[in-house]
C-alpha cells in the first residue's frame, strides 16, 4: 500500500478555481439568454464568437507556454470561457463580428497573458477588451437595437431613438439644451416606447415606466446588460454560494444611486436631491459591471474593508463619468480606474491581527 505523504491540512473544502469560474458563467446565463431572446439570433452569434475567440486565444497561448515548459493548458479552469462570455455580453447585438473577436483576443492575450496569466493581470480582461474596441471602433460600438419586447417605433423617432440607448438619448438631449425636464419626461416626449406591463406597474408604484422596463430588460443596450433583474438573480445566486460577497455590488450601486439622487438634478436645472435614480441605476450596464466585473477576484481588493472602498470608488467614478464626461463607458472606466488602485488598497487596508490589541509591553 502506498500512502500519500503531504503537509496538512488533509481535508479540503469543495472550493476550486474552476467551480468559481463556471458558477459565475452559470449566474450570467439567464441575463445572456434574455439578451438573445430580445435581440434575436444575431446576439447569440456575437456571444458564441466572443467565447470561441477567447477560448482559442487561451489555447494558442497555452501552447506557447507549454513549449517553454510552463504550466499545462488552462482551459479547464473556465476563466477563458467566462472572459469570452463577458466580452460578448458587453457588445451591442449590431457590432460587426470582427469586433468581439478582437476584443476577446485582446482580453486574453494582452490584458491577461502578457501579465503572466490567470491571477496576475491587474485589469479585468473582459473590461480591457471592451474598452479597447470601444476606443478603436467608437461609432461601430455605439449602434444599438431596440428589444423586440417593446412596441415598434414609428415615424421620426426611428432615427432619433432607434439606435441609441436611453442613457445616451437623454444625455444628448440635455447637452443640446433640453432643460427643466426629467430624464423620463425627455424620453416620453421623444416618443421612447414602453411596454403596457411597465405602464401599469409604474402607475401603481408611482415610478417611471422606463425604470420598470429597464429593470426587466425591455430596453436598448448591450446583449447582457439589459435585464438588471436577471443579473440581480445571478448575483444573489453567487452570494448564496459564497462565491462573491455583497460588499462591492451593494456599495457600488448604492453610492452611485445616492450621488445620482443628490446631484443629477442639477443637469436639468433642478435643485439638490431631485435626481431620478431608478432609470439610471437599472441601465447602462451598471448591474453587469457591479455584480460581475467589479467583483472579479483577481482585480478587486482581498479584504472586505478594501472591497467597500473599491465599491464606493466605482460608484463615485461612474457618477462623475456619466455626468461630466460624454462617454457611455462610464461603468467600465470607473472599474478600470479602481482596478489600478487595487494593489494600493491591498497594501494599506489589512485585517486587524489577533493578539495585537494593545501595544505589547516587553517583559522587563
Amino acid at each position: 500500500m502506498r500512502l500519500k505523504i503531504s503537509s496538512s491540512p488533509h481535508f479540503h473544502s469543495k472550493n476550486s478555481t474552476s467551480s468559481i469560474m463556471w458558477n459565475v458563467s452559470l449566474a450570467l446565463a439567464p441575463a445572456a439568454i434574455w439578451g438573445v431572446y430580445v435581440f434575436g439570433l444575431r446576439a447569440l452569434l456575437i456571444l458564441v464568437v466572443s467565447i470561441a475567440a477567447s477560448v482559442v486565444t487561451e489555447y494558442l497561448l497555452g501552447l506557447i507556454d507549454g513549449e517553454r515548459g510552463l504550466k499545462q493548458s488552462t482551459l479547464s479552469d473556465g476563466s477563458a470561457f467566462l472572459t469570452g462570455l463577458l466580452v460578448g455580453m458587453n457588445m451591442s447585438p449590431l457590432v460587426p463580428v470582427l469586433i468581439p473577436i478582437i476584443a476577446s483576443a485582446f482580453a486574453i492575450g494582452i490584458v491577461k497573458w502578457i501579465f503572466g496569466g490567470l491571477g496576475q493581470n491587474w485589469m479585468n480582461p473582459a473590461l480591457g477588451g471592451r474598452v479597447f474596441v470601444f476606443f478603436s471602433f467608437t461609432s461601430l460600438m455605439s449602434n444599438y437595437q431596440m428589444p423586440k419586447t417593446l412596441p415598434a417605433l414609428t415615424g421620426a423617432s426611428v432615427d432619433a431613438i432607434g439606435s441609441a440607448t436611453p442613457l445616451s438619448y437623454v444625455k444628448t438631449s440635455i447637452t443640446n439644451g433640453l432643460l427643466n425636464q426629467s430624464p423620463s419626461a425627455i424620453m416620453t416626449n421623444g416618443g421612447y416606447p414602453t411596454t403596457d406591463f411597465a405602464q401599469n406597474l409604474a402607475q401603481t408604484l408611482h415610478i417611471s415606466p422606463y425604470a420598470v422596463d429597464a429593470f426587466f430588460g425591455n430596453i436598448g443596450g448591450c446583449i447582457g446588460e439589459v435585464s438588471a433583474f436577471l443579473l440581480l438573480v445571478g448575483g444573489i445566486y453567487l452570494c448564496v454560494k459564497k462565491i462573491i460577497s455583497w460588499h462591492i455590488p451593494v456599495t457600488f450601486i448604492g453610492f452611485f444611486a445616492l450621488l445620482t439622487w443628490m446631484f443629477s438634478g442639477y443637469r436639468s436645472g433642478f435643485g439638490f436631491a431631485s435626481g431620478e435614480v431608478l432609470g439610471q441605476v437599472f441601465s447602462g450596464g451598471l448591474f453587469l459591471g457591479a455584480i460581475f466585473m467589479a467583483t472579479d477576484m483577481v482585480t478587486s481588493p482581498i479584504t472586505k474593508k478594501g472591497q467597500v472602498i473599491f465599491g464606493l470608488g466605482c460608484g463615485f467614478w461612474t457618477f462623475l463619468f456619466r455626468y461630466f464626461g460624454s462617454l457611455p463607458e462610464a461603468v467600465s472606466l470607473a472599474i478600470i480606474l479602481m482596478n489600478i488602485l487595487t494593489p494600493t488598497i491591498d497594501r494599506y487596508v489589512v485585517p486587524k491581527k489577533f493578539g495585537y490589541i494593545k501595544p505589547v509591553k516587553e517583559a522587563n
Binding site: 496538512s8 479540503h12 478555481t17 483577481v298 486587524k352 491581527k353
Partner: protein, 438 residues
C-alpha cells in the same frame, strides 16, 4: 447572564465534522500487543534520556526514559517484557528519534495500582507526581504538563479552561472520554485547579457534543464542584488555545505570549483524566484513547491502547480497511501528520488514526486573489500575501509585514483556497527559511 453558546469572532471555517463514524462507539481496550515501540520523543521539547539498555526487562509502568532538560518529559513502559532493541524510528511528524522496541511477556501478572486521596497531597506533591508520571498535553501539542502547571512568579492563573472542544473533524476520543470517563476527568480538573490555584474553571465543549455537556453538568452537580460547562458554536479552530480563550473568557493572548500572560491555563480533557490516574492511582501516562476512524476503516472505534502500539495493529483491531486509503493521518485531518507506514507507533499525543481518501481534489492554479484565505484566518493574517512573498523569496517581507510567525498552521486558509495552493506547506517552509536567514 452569560450567553448560552459562545464562539470566537474572527475567521474560522466549517469543515464537515464526520464524527458520526465513531461518536457512538464505546471505548474498548486493545489486547496487549506482542511488541510496542516506545519513542523517547513523546513530547514537545528535548527527547528523554534512555534509562534502560537492550536486553533489560521492564515492568508495566516502570520509568524507562527521563527528562533531559527543563522542557522534556518522563517516559514509562506500557507493558511488562524485555527490551529487544533500541533503534531509530521516524514518527508521523517526520521526527527521527530513538525508540525502545519492547517485546511483551504474555505471562506477566497484571500490575496493581494504588488508591490515593489526592486531597491529602500538597500542590507541590501533586505537581511532582504529574512530572514524575510523564503527563503531557494530550490534545496533540504534547507540551509537558508540569511545565504548564508551574505558575511563574508574579503570574496568577485566574482561569482554568478545559478543552473539550475537539473541533477537528472525525476525532471522538475526547467526546467518548467525557461520556465514559467523566468522573475521573472531573477529579483531574479539580487536581489541576488545586495545583495552579485557579479561581474560575470553565469546560468548553462544541455544540455537536451536547450529550457530553449534559453528562458533565450532571457529574459536576453531583460532586458539587465549582465548574462551569460552556457550550460553544461549532467552528474550527476553536480547540486552539487562542480561540478557546477568546470564546470562553473574551481575552486575547497577545502575539508571542502564553495563556498565562492573560491569567489562564488551558488543558485538554484527556490530559485531565491522565492527571487523575496519576494522582489517585500512581499510574503513569502510558496508554490513551485513540480514535481509529475514517471512511476507509471497516469498523471505526475508540480504543484504549498502550503508547507505542503500531497503527497497523489498531487498524486490524477495527477489522482492517474497507477500501485502500490514500492517506492515514495522525491526529485530525486539519493539522495532523500523514503516517509513512503501518509500523509507525502511536505517541502520547496521538488522538486519532484516520484512514481517508483524498477528497475534493482539483488542479492547483495561480492565486486568484479571492480573499477567502484572509476571511478564514483566525489570526487575521493575509495568507495570500505571505504565500506570494515566500514564493518570491522575500522571506523578510512575509515575516515583518505579514507576521508569518503568528501563523499557527491551523490550515483554515488552505482548506478554503479555491486555487488549491499548499499554503500551510509554504508557511512551514517560509518559517524555516526565515529562521535560517536570521
Amino acid at each position: 447572564m452569560p450567553k448560552d453558546v459562545l464562539t470566537f469572532k474572527r475567521g474560522g471555517v466549517h469543515p464537515e465534522d464526520r464524527k458520526f463514524l465513531s461518536n457512538k462507539k464505546a471505548i474498548e481496550f486493545l489486547p496487549v500487543p506482542k511488541e510496542v515501540v516506545v519513542s523517547l520523543s513523546q513530547h514537545l521539547g528535548a527527547p528523554a534520556k534512555a534509562l534502560k539498555a537492550k536486553g533489560d526487562s521492564v515492568v508495566r509502568g516502570e520509568k524507562i526514559g527521563t527528562a533531559s532538560s527543563f522542557i522534556s518529559a518522563e517516559v514509562h513502559s506500557p507493558v511488562t517484557g524485555t527490551i529487544k532493541a533500541i533503534q531509530k524510528v521516524t514518527l508521523a511528524n517526520s521526527v527521527k528519534c530513538d525508540a525502545y522496541v519492547i517485546e511483551t511477556d504474555p505471562t506477566a501478572e497484571e500490575v496493581k495500582w494504588d488508591d490515593i486521596d489526592w486531597r491529602t497531597k500538597s500542590k507541590e506533591e501533586l505537581l511532582n507526581t504529574i512530572k514524575d508520571l510523564g503527563i503531557v498535553g494530550m490534545g496533540g501539542a504534547t507540551f509537558p504538563a508540569h511545565v504548564k502547571f508551574s505558575i511563574t512568579k508574579g503570574k496568577v492563573a485566574e482561569y482554568l479552561v478545559i478543552n473539550g472542544v475537539e473541533c477537528e473533524p472525525y476525532l471522538t476520543s475526547d467526546h467518548r472520554t467525557m461520556l465514559e470517563r467523566a468522573e475521573g476527568a472531573i477529579e483531574g480538573v479539580m487536581i489541576i485547579a488545586k495545583v495552579i490555584e485557579a479561581k474560575k474553571i470553565i469546560v468548553g465543549i462544541e455544540k455537536n457534543k451536547m450529550d457530553a455537556v449534559k453528562h458533565l453538568r450532571d457529574v459536576i452537580k453531583a460532586k458539587g464542584y465549582p465548574i462551569t460547562v460552556q457550550p460553544l458554536k461549532m467552528k474550527y479552530p476553536q480547540g486552539d488555545e487562542k480561540q478557546l480563550l477568546k470564546a470562553t473568557t473574551g481575552r486575547e493572548i497577545p502575539s508571542g505570549k502564553l495563556p498565562l500572560d492573560i491569567g489562564a491555563v488551558v488543558s485538554n480533557i484527556g490530559t485531565c483524566f491522565a492527571v487523575y490516574e496519576a494522582c489517585t492511582k500512581n499510574k503513569p501516562l502510558m496508554e490513551r484513547v485513540v480514535c481509529v476512524t475514517g471512511e476507509c476503516i471497516k469498523e471505526p472505534k475508540n480504543i484504549v491502547a498502550p503508547i507505542g502500539t503500531k497503527i497497523g495493529e489498531l487498524i486490524d483491531f477495527c477489522g482492517g480497511f474497507k477500501e485502500e486509503p490514500d492517506k492515514i493521518v495522525s491526529g485530525g485531518p486539519m493539522m495532523g501528520f500523514a503516517f509513512y507506514d503501518l509500523d509507525t507507533p502511536i505517541q502520547k499525543g496521538t488522538s486519532g488514526v484516520i484512514s481517508i481518501k483524498v477528497e475534493n481534489e482539483a488542479p492547483q492554479t495561480s492565486c486568484i486573489s479571492c480573499g477567502k484565505c484572509v476571511s478564514a484566518c483566525p489570526i487575521g493574517l493575509m495568507p495570500t500575501m505571505m504565500y506570494k512573498n515566500i514564493s518570491n523569496g522575500r522571506y523578510d517581507v512575509a515575516l515583518n509585514k505579514y507576521s508569518l510567525m503568528d501563523c499557527k498552521e491551523c490550515g483554515s486558509c488552505a482548506f478554503v483556497c479555491p486555487a488549491h495552493i499548499p499554503l500551510v506547506h509554504t508557511f512551514k517552509y517560509g518559517k524555516k527559511m526565515a529562521r535560517r536567514k536570521k
